[in-house]
Symmetry: C2
Subunit: 113 residues, 2 copies
C-alpha cells in the first residue's frame, strides 16, 4: 500500500504552448505498478487553463478547490468544489480558473491508451 | 460530458454484515459508458468503517474530508484531507473513521474485474 499526502508529490509545470499557469502532480501511476488507470492532481493558477484537447481516452475529474469553468469548444459550465466531470473519449474539453485562488482537481485517465 | 455536483448523486448504504455506518455514491460508472474505471465517493459516519477486504483488483483513494485510519489487518495509518492511498490488487485494507465528522473519500476501481 502506498500512502502519501498529495503535497509530498512534486508538482511539475504542464509544458504545452497554449497552456497557461498549470501544474500537475502524478499521484498514482504505472510507476506504482497501477495496472489500469492513473490519478493526477492539477493545480491551475489564477488566469490559467489546461490544454484544450479532444484525446481519444476518457477523463474522470473531481474538483477539490477553487472556482472555474469547463469549456467544450462552444460553451462554458461552472465548476466548484465537489463538481464531478466525466469527459468521454474524443470530447473536447478545457478547464479554466475563473476565481481568485488556485483551481485544484483530480483527473484520472487510463494507463493503456 | 456529464457534469454534476456529487451531492446530487444518491448515497446508498453499503450493505455488508461487518460494515458500520458507510454510504457510497456511484459518481461515474458503466452507466455513463465509462469504459475502464469507476469513481465512487464513500461517506463513513462517526464510529464507522468500510469493508475489510482483499479484492483482486486495485483501489485508488483520495481523502476529501474528515479524519481516519487505513487498516491493513496488522497496523493502522492515519488519513486526513489530501491523503492519497494506492491499494494494490490483493492487499487487505479497511478505512475507519476516527474523527468527529464524516470521513469522505473517493475510491476508484476498474470496471472490468
Amino acid at each position: 500500500m502506498k500512502i502519501v499526502d498529495y503535497n509530498e508529490d512534486k508538482a511539475e509545470a504542464v509544458d504545452f504552448e497554449d497552456v497557461k499557469n498549470d501544474k500537475v502532480r502524478g499521484l498514482i501511476s504505472d510507476k506504482d505498478k497501477a495496472p489500469n488507470f492513473a490519478m493526477r492532481l492539477y493545480e491551475v493558477g489564477t488566469v490559467g487553463d489546461s490544454l484544450l484537447q479532444p484525446p481519444n481516452w476518457e477523463h474522470e475529474v473531481f474538483i477539490l478547490e477553487g472556482e472555474g469553468v469547463t469549456y467544450d469548444g462552444e460553451k462554458e459550465t461552472k465548476l466548484k468544489s465537489g463538481t464531478v466531470v466525466y469527459v468521454a473519449p474524443n470530447e473536447k474539453h478545457q478547464f479554466k480558473n475563473t476565481g481568485n485562488d488556485t483551481l485544484k482537481f483530480l483527473c484520472l485517465i487510463p494507463i493503456k491508451k
